[in-house]
Assembly symmetry: C2
């Protein structure tokens, strides 16, 4: 098994944190996104979307999409459960993970990719150029704040986002909260429940993965 990875990007970090929480040791292959290695013919043959992480399984399957990679590892190594034990908990993990991806990650990406000179023509991942549209920055910021308000509300009186345990949904949220600094936002300011959650999540050894 091999994990195609890039140290600086939030989605590979989710996979790395998941692997660390499972105490697994999976060799990693660095794909330098800053050097656009993800759009090389060799890498696009493995993953036509040109994204990391990608998990190469021992059967020679290439799994993309962080949730799919984590689910595969969860089936092979069920302990500790990071995607819920009961049917309800499993559903809650998938639900909150999806919300974090589609509301959180996508709104921050909309800001970052339309704003940062480093993402010129990289409004989306992959090997197709999409021009930046500065008018999307404000919209992305508004959606991002809405997302963090939703999370603040959810975290009232809770230790973890989806269930009574630390799960993939928390891992995904940690990656998102931290990557918000790339667009000069600290979402924990004015959001005490998120701040408390973030302090605890950041102290887990997996946060350094």
């Amino acid at each position: 098994m091999k994990l195609f990875d890039f140290n600086r990007a939030p989605n590979p970090r989710r996979a790395r944190m998941f692997v660390a929480e499972k105490n697994l040791d999976i060799p990693r292959i660095n794909v330098n996104l800053f050097g656009m290695e993800q759009t090389s013919p060799e890498f696009m043959a493995l993953n036509p979307l040109g994204t990391v992480p990608v998990l190469e399984t021992d059967d020679g399957l290439y799994l993309t999409e962080t949730v799919a990679i984590c689910h595969y590892l969860e089936q092979l190594h069920p302990e500790p459960p990071l995607m819920g034990a009961s049917a309800a908990d499993q559903a809650l993990v998938l639900m909150w993970n999806n919300i974090v991806e589609q509301q959180g990650m996508f709104s921050i990406a909309e800001v970052l990719r339309n704003w940062s000179p480093g993402f010129a023509n990289r409004a989306f991942p992959g090997n197709t150029d999409y021009a930046q549209m500065p008018e999307l920055i404000e919209r992305g910021r508004k959606r991002m704040e809405q997302f963090f308000d939703l999370i603040e509300n959810r975290l009232q009186g809770r230790s973890f986002l989806a269930t009574e345990d630390y799960t993939l949904a928390d891992i995904s949220l940690l990656a998102i909260v931290d990557v918000a600094s790339w667009v000069k936002v600290n979402p924990t300011i004015g959001r005490p429940a998120l701040g408390k959650w973030h302090d605890a999540a950041s102290q887990r050894p997996s946060a350094d993965a």
Copy 2:
């Protein structure tokens, strides 16, 4: 158990098709999106995102996100498996379902919601107004065509999208292919593998759900 539903929308249709393939009978509550019932205080209390489908479980849990609803039903009613039997197949279903949601559904939504007068100020679901941005229509169309090209390539020599069986990934793709007609696109034109797949999927009784 109850399913909050709206007959005309693609995501509730995915849930209905899943229920039909499982031969389940789940009472449905209609949420009239055309009348903006999804933004009523009563509904937003159940689902602050203001989206359907929502599954109310017998434990009084409200599950949003189609993938989470389907995973819950899969655990309660494993036969026939619609989300993969082996670890690899389960991962492939989650992976392709995510790709269909994030590349397919989102690109079509970008076109539709920024183009159709019926979606004025509804650039995103939920109860917050986001103005239409006509400059996103062309970008959305380009991303949509790229998505269907990816799918055409994947379907070469295959009967189904993710595994050797009809799964949630196919259900999601069927909803997406059909909803493309709302933006005046028939993605099967010039894509013979997708066309053959679409003919077969459309003939399943669940397609009428």
